[in-house]
Each structure stands twice: as C-alpha cells, then as structure tokens.
C-alpha cells in the first residue's frame, strides 16, 4: 500500500466557511446585485454601484457588465464602449476574457479583460446570443421565425441563451426549455400561461437569471441539479 505513504493529516488544514454565492442578478431597476444563500431562500445584496446596467454576464472568473456607454468589471476596469445593450460571452478557456456584441451598432469585439479589440463580423441577421468555443465563438440569429446556430435550427423562441459546452436555453410563453448538448431536454414553467419571458442573464457558471413579466427566476443549469426558483424582488 504505497498509498499509505500519503499522510492524510487528521489535523486537517481548515479552509473556510462562507456564504454561498449564487451569482449576480439584475434587479427591476437594472442594478447589479449579488445573490447569496440557498436557491429557494436566497438573499439579494447591495448593488455594485448606483447606476443602471444594461447587460451582464458572470462566470466563476468574474463578471463583465455594460452600461449605456461603458464596459466594466467589479474589479474596477472601465472602458468606453458603443452605446446601448450588449451580448456578452465569457471565455472559460481564457479567464477574464470574452466576446462582446453591441446590439445597436452590430459590432463585435474581443474583450481581453482590459480593452476591447474590434473584430470583423457579418452575422447575416440579428444576433440573439453568443458563446465562446474553442478557437472562437458561436452565435444564434433569428431567421424565418426560428433560432439558428450556424446551420442548426433550435426552433422558434422569443429568447435564447447559448450555454457553454453546446447547450442552450430557449424561452417561449411561460416556459423555459433547457437543451443539453447530448440532445436531452428539460422544461421549466416560470410564470402563468401566456407570461412573457423577456431574456436571460448568466448569473454564474451554475445559475441563469430568467426575466419574465411576472418576476425574476434563478435556473440552476448544473446537470443533476436542475431546478428553478423565484429570485427575491427588490422593494427598496
């Protein structure tokens, strides 16, 4: 038993205990707020700053947010950016970096973590979502009433979020469908029949914020943990 050479120290080094972070959400006022606790018993923290965030994406490596005129990170990096909302895809293979598509101008840029580097991009339609893949990126566009990723149709939906690893979230009235890369699907009811799902925000690696006209939801997309919970509203 060479393995006995391993000395598992019974007096183990104590790491730490902390509040679990579910991620960062945008509240109804567009404030970016950290969310902690258990999914169904979450607590919303104070906003990062007193200003409206138009777009947001977070992962284990951090967040990138878009205000009307700038791109910034919680670490304090701020760069000027084209006006309006953006679609942000963080690149897990290059922590802190990602791709940013500016919706109003239709321009794409590589985010290095400290600057935006313009990229040539001709999507051939309105870009709805973006994700980093090995060696580049993929994007979803709407064409002929369906959502397309390259040459593959995901069907019709009013919102889409491309997930790392090949999956996607699709929203239709009152329902969110999780499409796994392996072809499996899971449906989640998020509001009463006819409710409108307005969009998705990547809260963290594990959670996606689902924005509906009736409330905010946190969807756990980790395999085996899939569940959806209502996010706390903000009354102040």
């Amino acid at each position: 038993m060479k393995i006995l050479l391993l000395t598992l120290m019974s007096a183990c080094a104590w790491g730490q205990i902390e509040s679990p972070q579910l991620g960062v959400m945008l509240d109804v006022n567009g404030r970016a707020r950290p969310v902690t606790g258990a999914p169904a018993a979450a607590v919303v923290g104070t906003p990062w700053f007193d200003g409206a965030v138009l777009s947001l994406a977070c992962s284990a490596e951090g967040c990138v947010a878009k205000t009307e005129a700038a791109l910034f990170t919680p670490a304090g990096v701020v760069v000027d950016a084209p006006p309006g909302a953006a679609i942000i895809a963080l690149d897990s293979s290059s922590p802190g970096a990602g791709y940013v598509y500016f919706v109003e101008s239709g321009k794409l840029a590589r985010w290095t973590g400290s600057q935006l580097v313009p990229m040539d991009f001709a999507p051939g339609g309105d870009v709805l979502s973006l994700r980093a893949v090995a060696g580049g990126f993929e994007y979803a566009v709407e064409r002929d009433g369906e959502i397309w990723v390259g040459g593959k149709s995901l069907g019709s939906a009013n919102s889409v979020l491309l997930l790392d690893g090949g999956g996607a979230l699709l929203a239709s009235d009152g329902k969110v469908r999780l499409l796994r890369a392996d072809g499996t699907e899971l449906d989640f009811a998020v509001t009463s029949a006819g409710g409108f799902v307005g969009g998705f925000i990547r809260m963290s690696n594990q959670y996606v914020q689902v924005i509906t006209d009736a409330g905010m939801w946190a969807l756990d997309i980790e395999p085996g943990h899939e569940q959806i919970s209502l996010l706390p509203g903000v009354s102040h």
Binding site: A40, A41, G215
Partner: protein
C-alpha cells in the same frame, strides 16, 4: 311750551308699547304672534312646549317687567323657561321664553299670555302685549314595541339596533286603546329611508283593544339610519344601524402539505362564502425560529417583493382573495427551522374565525446543494455547500478511497465552533465549506472521498466525490 312738553311725555308710554312685538318660533323661524295661538291637539299626559319671543323693535332699550300665563280654562299652560324679570332688552334684541302645556283631562284648555313693561307695582298692568293660548287634550293610545326592537323610551325613541347591511329586521308594534270608547288613530305614518310598513294610514281601535302592525328596517349601507313613526298626535323617532358583516372564514391553500426549509411555496386564500362587501387589508408573515440561538431568518418572506407584508383584496360576491393583486403569492421558508405564521388584517371589515394560520418547518438533516473534490500539489480539497436548519453542523467524517475504491483512511473532524462563529451574525444557515487536507506523497493515488455530516436532526452523506 310747557303744555307741549307735557303732551310729549303723555305719548311716551304709547311709544314704549309699540317697541315690543311678540313672535312664536317653529324651530328657529319666528312668526308674528296673533291674538290667539293654538297648541292644537295634545295627547293626554303628553307635554308640548312652544318657544315665544318678545322683540324690541325700537331704537331704545326696553325693560320687560312682567311675563305671565294666566290659565282661563283648565290648568295646563305654564312658563317653563325664561329669564327673570325685570329684563332689559336692548334695541333690536329679543327676549325668548318657553310656555309648556300638559294635561290629562280630555277637554279644551285656554290661557292668556302677557308680556308687560309697566311699573314694578303694576308689572302686567298698563303696557301689555298679550295673546290667548288654546289647546285640546285628546285620548292617547299606548304604543308598545316587541323584541328585537326596544323602546319607546322617555324621548320617544324606538331602536332597531344593529343589523347587517342589506338584511332586514321586522318589529311588531301594538297600539292599545285604554279608553272606554273606540279610538281612531290618525295619522299612522312611517317615514325615513330604510323603514317601511304595511299598515294603513289610520286605524280604529275598539275600547280596551289593541291593534298591531309591523315596521321593517332594511339598511342599504353600513351606516346609521333614522326615521319617524307618527301615531296620532305623537311622533316617535325610529333609529337603526346597518353594518358591514364580517368576511366569512378564511380557507388557506398551500401548494403542499409538506413544507420544509429551503423551499418556495405558493399560498392562495379564499373566503368560505362570497363576500358581501368589497374588502381590502393586509396579510403579514412572521417567523419564529425554533432554534434558540437564532432570532430571525431574512429569507423567510414573500419572494416577489422581498418583504413580509402583502396586500389582499376581495370583490363583492367573490370568494377568491387576491394577494398583491395576484391570485396567489410565493413565500420562501428560509433555512431555519421554525414556525411561519400568516395573519390577515381586514381592518373595519372583520372576519369570522381565525385570521391566522401557521406552517412549521421541522429540524432536518443538513441539506446539501453541491459537493466537489479537487486536488492540488500537496493538498486535497473538499467543497460542500448547503444549509443546516438546526444550526448544529460541525461533526463530520471524511472517508478516502484509492483509485481502485479501496479505503485509505477515515478522518473524523469537528468544526462545530467554526460553524458557530460563522453563523453568528448570519440571517440564515446557508454555508459553503472548503476543507483542505495536506498530503505527503502521491496525491494522484487518492481516488475519492465521501463525507458524512451530522447535525441535531440526523446524518447526511455526500455522493462519492471523485478527485480529478
């Protein structure tokens, strides 16, 4: 010249006499008093009081030295309230006084009312304003009222009490003729919103007999109502109050009968019977932890609004109650064992039965949200997140296996004090725990670990966590 002066002095009494003019007052409106004033018919034993006024219409003050009523037929009139004389009335000012009448003998009565401004020795001689007062005493029937009404009292008030709005209450009234001859009672009238009767406008009652009739009280709203009942010469005040009936009892509907910590549940609320009024109020959530060291859990609340108060409303005729304008409301049970109580405050509307209900989240084994194992050069890391609604987590053991699954070691640990330190100041029991094990040797030989965590409610074991 002297003769002219005497002549003017002789005219002075006549000028004074013309200064005082008598009026009767019906309410606050004065009417000039003629030579005769009739009280009309007065029921035997009743009293009737009339207000009179002596108005000084001159430009100089005048002293009223005499105020009297002299009964000339029977003995029924008397001054019941006045200022004492002599009384100086300034120019343009009045002196009011009250003359009452009451008698029991069935006959006619007369008296002379005198207001004088003469000398002290001849107060009501000389200068006098006067009028003849007349009254007739008529037989009076006796009115009685049966339950649920009460009265009439000394002020002739008949009460219908309080009843629910839009409902109806009927009371039976009887008129007794105590006299040895038939008696016609006229008029017999009911007036006033909310009060009705089916009786005729008059009734003739035989000697010693009674006649009955009913009055219905139907308040249309939740407020006070008044009316009058005229029975011959007597007028009674009818009084009743309508009120909004309390809402029927609450029916609490939770989406599950089994409610535990770390969950979100939906609550809807109904009335057991349709609301008779449109009502609104608030529903409040309170939380009482069953853990002695914990005072609250901030996550226990209505989720959509992040607070513990919701508005409720119900429409007239409906049983469904809206909460924050929605058909139901979602609440979080938090991560602390305890009792969640929902209380409805209906304000002025009131409610039948209990306005509250409670659900209890029982102490439970640690709930695991995620667990993972990673390795570094000389360390093995275990990361576990979840919550412990008993706040007693601490004792645990780590069972390591090699790549073939054979046991290497089982290491007990007790982090109770660390968790108690962490929980202090927290408003919930959620935690993320990172435990690092320093290792001497080939870390890659360690294949996995299983963690058993204890708390006051039981034991929970993680899945077998694989080291990469």
């Amino acid at each position: 010249m002297k003769a002219r002066l005497l002549c003017l002095l002789a005219l002075a009494p006549a000028l004074l006499e013309a200064q005082v003019v008598l009026y009767s007052l019906n309410g606050i409106a004065p009417s000039p008093l003629g030579s005769v004033y009739g009280y009309g018919q007065v029921a035997a034993g009743d009293s009737m009081i009339v207000r009179f006024r002596a108005l000084n219409t001159g430009t100089a003050s005048v002293t009223i030295t005499c105020l009297s009523v002299k009964n000339t037929s029977g003995a029924g009139f008397s001054i019941v309230n006045s200022s004492s004389t002599p009384f100086v009335v300034a120019a343009g000012q009045p002196m009011d006084f009250f003359v009452g009448f009451s008698a029991t003998a069935i006959t006619s009565y007369a008296a002379t009312l005198e207001v004088g401004t003469g000398t002290a020795t001849d107060a009501c001689g000389g200068t006098i304003e006067s009028a003849i007062l007349l009254a007739t005493v008529v037989p009076a029937p006796v009115l009685s009222v049966a339950a649920p009404c009460t009265g009439p009292d000394a002020n002739k008030n008949i009460s219908f009490g309080r009843i629910a709005q839009t409902s109806q209450e009927s009371c039976t009234l009887s008129i007794l003729n105590p006299f040895p001859q038939a008696l016609t009672v006229s008029p017999l009238l009911v007036t006033g919103a909310g009060f009705t009767t089916t009786s005729g406008n008059a009734v003739t009652i035989g000697a010693g007999q009674s006649a009955s009739f009913t009055i219905q009280f139907s308040p249309a709203t939740g407020s006070a109502f008044s009316g009058t009942l005229t029975v011959g010469t007597r007028t009674y005040t009818l009084a009743g109050t309508g009120f909004s009936p309390p809402l029927s009892s609450l029916v609490w509907n939770f989406d599950s009968t089994k409610i535990g910590s770390g969950e979100q549940h939906t609550l809807s609320l109904q009335l057991s019977a349709p609301a008779t009024v449109a009502a609104a109020g608030t529903m409040t959530l309170t939380f009482s932890p069953s853990i002695k060291t914990v005072t609250d859990d901030a996550a226990v609340r209505f989720v959509a609004t992040s607070n513990r108060v919701a508005s409720f409303a119900v429409n007239v005729g409906a049983t469904a109650i809206t909460l924050n304008a929605q058909p139901n409301i979602v609440f979080s049970t938090g991560t602390t064992a305890g009792t969640i109580t929902f209380s409805v405050d209906t304000g002025i509307y009131g409610i039948s039965g209990s306005p509250s209900t409670s659900v209890t989240t029982s102490p439970a084994p640690i709930a695991l949200a995620s667990s993972a194992a990673t390795s570094r050069a000389n360390e093995l890391d275990v990361v576990i997140s979840g919550f412990d609604n008993t706040y007693s987590i601490g004792s645990m053991s780590f069972s390591f296996v090699d790549r073939s699954g054979a046991s290497i070691a089982s290491i007990p640990a007790d982090f109770s004090s660390d968790f108690q330190t962490f929980f202090h100041g927290q408003t919930g029991s959620s935690f993320l725990m990172r435990v690092s094990f320093p290792v001497t040797g080939d870390v890659s030989q360690v294949g996995g670990v299983t963690v058993m965590l204890n708390n006051a409610a039981g034991v929970v074991t993680t899945p077998s966590l694989k080291f990469p």
